[in-house]
Every structure is written in C-alpha cells, then in structure tokens.
C-alpha cells in the first residue's frame, strides 16, 4: 500500500537526527522496492511534505530527502519534576495571594526532591569519571 509506505517514510524522517536521509538508504532500510519508494517520494514532494535534492553518493546519483515540517516533540522532562504541572491551584496562585509560590509546601517539596536527585546524579557522574581515570592509569 503506497499510503503505508508514505507513513513509514515520514516516521523514518521524523526519527532521523537531522530530519533528512538519502533515498538509496531509505528503500534498503524500509525493505521496499526502489521504484515504489521513488514514486511515493515524488508524490510526497508534490504535496510539499518533503524536499528532494540531487546529491552524489559513492559516485552514484541519488537524492537527499528532507522533511519539510517536523512535528514538534512533546517533552515534559523540564517541568515534570515540579508540582505546579498538576496543581489545580495554579491559576489562582501568586505572590501576595493565600496560595503563593513563595511558601507553597508542594513546590518546596518538589525543589527539595529535585535538588536531592540532582546531587545524586552529580555524585554518580563524579564516581564514574573517577573510575574511568583510574582505569586509564
């Protein structure tokens, strides 16, 4: 099915580091015929999903396929530690209010826990680098 193939191509481009891959690598990895992949890519280029640029790879002509609109990733790692993320009082919390970030006990616990986690991670890093140094000697 061409739609399935297009979806696989999009997923592969989405997961690639720079959002681009070579066409000659694409059909090998997807385990599809080069002709099917080439046809799908032409269609996708017409729909402005991807861009194809002619390049030389190992003396042979191929295309670099670049995803034009990379879907943004949902990442909560930077706020998941903080109690504010799931706090129902967030909209009525503020300085000078009965609920305030100044003395919020839930936020204080989050900060404390994050500091302990951070200290632990730093300690592990320090021990690991000390071990590497010792091994090198």
């Amino acid at each position: 099915m061409p739609e399935e193939l297009e979806e696989k191509i999009l997923v592969m481009l989405q997961d690639s580091k720079e959002g681009s891959v070579l066409q000659c690598e694409l059909w090998k990895v997807l385990n599809s015929g080069s002709r099917e992949v080439s046809r799908s890519l032409v269609k996708m280029e017409k729909r402005n999903l991807i861009k194809r640029e002619s390049v030389q790879e190992g003396g042979r002509k191929t295309y670099r396929i670049t995803l034009l609109r990379k879907a943004p990733k949902i990442d909560l790692a930077d706020v998941s530690w903080c109690s504010c993320l799931t706090c129902h009082d967030l909209s009525r919390c503020g300085r000078g209010q009965p609920i305030s970030p100044d003395n919020c006990p839930k936020l204080s616990i989050s900060i404390r826990n994050e500091f302990l986690k951070h200290s632990k991670d730093e300690e592990i890093k320090r021990l690991s680098s000390a071990r590497k140094d010792a091994d090198a000697k």
Binding site: P72, I74, D78, T86, L90, R95, N103, C104, F115
Partner: protein, 165 residues
C-alpha cells in the same frame, strides 16, 4: 508509553477515565466511535461525552464522513498534537513565571528555621517572635537556602532555553 505528556495533561484536565481512551487513540492514526466502543466497553453516550471534553481542551480532533447507505455521519478521531503542544507551552510559561517568583522570594529574603519543628521563617517574621518559634517555642537558627536558589536557577535556565527553541 509514547504519549506520557498527553496522558498526564488529559488525566489532570478531565479525569482518569480518559487515560484508556488516549492510549487507544495513540496507537492508531485515526479511530472510529465503533472501534473505541469495542476496545473500551464504554456506552456510546459516555464515549461521546469524553471525546467532546477532549475536543474542547484541543487534545483530540475529528473528521466526519457521511455514510452513503445509512445517511449518518461517521466520526474519525485522532490525537491533536498541535493543540497539546500549545497547551503545554502555555502551562510551561506559567510554571516558569511561578519559579521566577519563588526565586525572587528566595534571594530577597534571609531565612531562619526552628531547631525543633523545622518550620521556616523570614527575618521579618523571626524578629517579631524574638527568634522563637510561635508554634513550639523552639529556637530559630539562620538557614542556608543556597540549594533551593541553585536548583531554581538551573530549572529556570533549562525551561527558558526549551521555550525559546
């Protein structure tokens, strides 16, 4: 799970009952009402209620197609990633503001804590009670809040960088 963020937000905004629905919707590109009923065991009216709640929060979107034979509309539901990202970024900005407020409070004040119960007081509050805890009468000692300041600065920096990207 690929949609941890979505599950977390949906659970907080609507409730535990939407978690299963989100998980099923995440597995496929598009899902019909009938498939969702078969997989969740929910009644059609309850399912629609949850889906509309998710739609109101911009967490799902749908397209509808008229069934030529029956004349009814058939709904195809999908996760609305763009809506979720907008929602999460707004929430992250709010959290960033709260963290900055807390950082100001931590850097603008000098703190004391009760040697017995551990309650924290600002210098102004401590001087009012003559450096004794109003709850347990324990002695108030100077407190170092550098750990808190350090972690707040680190997290604010990280959040600002991610929001700018």
């Amino acid at each position: 799970m690929p949609n941890d963020g979505l599950v977390l937000v949906a659970r907080e905004l609507i409730g535990e009952e939407v978690v299963q629905l989100i998980q099923i919707l995440s597995e496929q590109d598009e899902t019909t009402d009938d498939e969702l009923i078969a997989k969740t065991g929910l009644k059609l009216n309850n399912l629609r209620k949850l889906l509309y709640q998710l739609f109101e929060q911009s967490l799902v979107s749908y397209r509808r197609v008229r069934d030529k034979d029956a004349g009814w509309f058939k709904y195809y539901w999908r996760i609305n990633k763009t809506g979720l990202i907008i929602l999460l970024n707004a929430k992250k900005k709010k959290i960033l503001f709260k963290l900055k407020e807390r950082l100001s409070y931590e850097t603008e004040n000098q703190f004391f804590s009760c040697a017995s119960c551990g309650t924290r007081f600002t210098f102004e509050d401590a001087i009012e009670t003559n450096f004794h805890c109003p709850t347990c009468a324990g002695r108030l000692d100077g407190m170092n809040n550098q750990d808190t300041v350090y972690i707040l600065r680190l997290k604010i920096e990280e959040l600002e960088k991610n929001l700018a990207d």
